[in-house]
Subunit: 218 residues, 2 copies
Amino acid sequence: MKPDKISEAVVRRLPVYLRYLNELSLSDVQTVSSQDLGDKLNLNPAQIRKDLAYFGEFGRKGVGYNVAYLIEKILQILKLDQTLGVALVGAGNLGRALCNYNMYTKDNMKIVAVFDADVNKTGGRISHLTVQPMDDLKETVDRLGITIGIITVPAMEAQKVADRFAAAGIKGILNFAPAVLKVPAGVRIHYADFTAELLSLAYYMDYEKRMEEGKVDE
Amino acid sequence: MKPDKISEAVVRRLPVYLRYLNELSLSDVQTVSSQDLGDKLNLNPAQIRKDLAYFGEFGRKGVGYNVAYLIEKILQILKLDQTLGVALVGAGNLGRALCNYNMYTKDNMKIVAVFDADVNKTGGRISHLTVQPMDDLKETVDRLGITIGIITVPAMEAQKVADRFAAAGIKGILNFAPAVLKVPAGVRIHYADFTAELLSLAYYMDYEKRMEEGKVDE
């Protein structure tokens, strides 16, 4: 296994497989074929076999993949075979939604601390967590061994939060604020940007309409 | 201009340009160079020039792009030079966050109606909108000429909502529920999937750590 060589596209498909495999596991389904996976996930079964073969020989012809074993392997590959603590900054509606959201990884990744700069929000509760002031960030990150941070503050506050995360020793950031952020080397930042998905919809809707009207040249 | 030939990658970068151009416009900046755009957006200036040249000759050497004109052109290309009404189903925390969220397109795309199946939520207010029962969906979509739907319900309810949207004449759907949905031909569906972004973080954090430790073969 050479995880260093896994392409970004594959790494991003693995969580998609994982989600469906967890669904199957909850329904007590023991095995699954690449055809089933492909049908359910709108992916090419050959692509799925190729992705999974990357990590060794999992599947058995005519039987398919063992669901439990595949889940275990994917968690291992994604380095989720450990519990990773997550800190979230920004206790607004989006922050609340994420705290209440089922992460679909059972206990592998969990929001364990919530922070907000607004004194009107600190002390309040979100599910089982108490919103802490920003001054507690570093101490809490150290104490709980948190390595991942989520940013759900307004765009103009986001860089400040990223800086605080990096200073506190956070190694991975998921940013929901619509702003491009700078982080030091050694810190990985991913963007959860649904505005782009929403805005590109109009283009494709128009395209599909023209397809139906026969106005698009192939 | 042959919009049918624009690649998916370009279509998804245009909203990113648009967001920053709108920021510039608000700060009364009149022109911008591809270098500035590249620095701010972490993109290659040559890539940006190539993307924008696709739609005709916008830029002027040594002067850069006219911000207002570029905004107008991109809106036109994305078919956002019209106001598109959006209906949202699922008035939970995420739905609320999206309703309160600045769409960064001024009035081009706007949530104009909110629905929920829960009678405890209908009649309640989210910013200036009243949460409506699902039975009102078709009539409201017709009356307001809504073409886009956003799904922010739990995964197991999402397919039902997609079916209702399609039956009501919705042509584009942005799905936030962690579920793969089937839609009829002529309806475009996009996924806002932050779980994949979050889960792939752990992999890249481990990779960066190994890079620092010199354990990764290039």
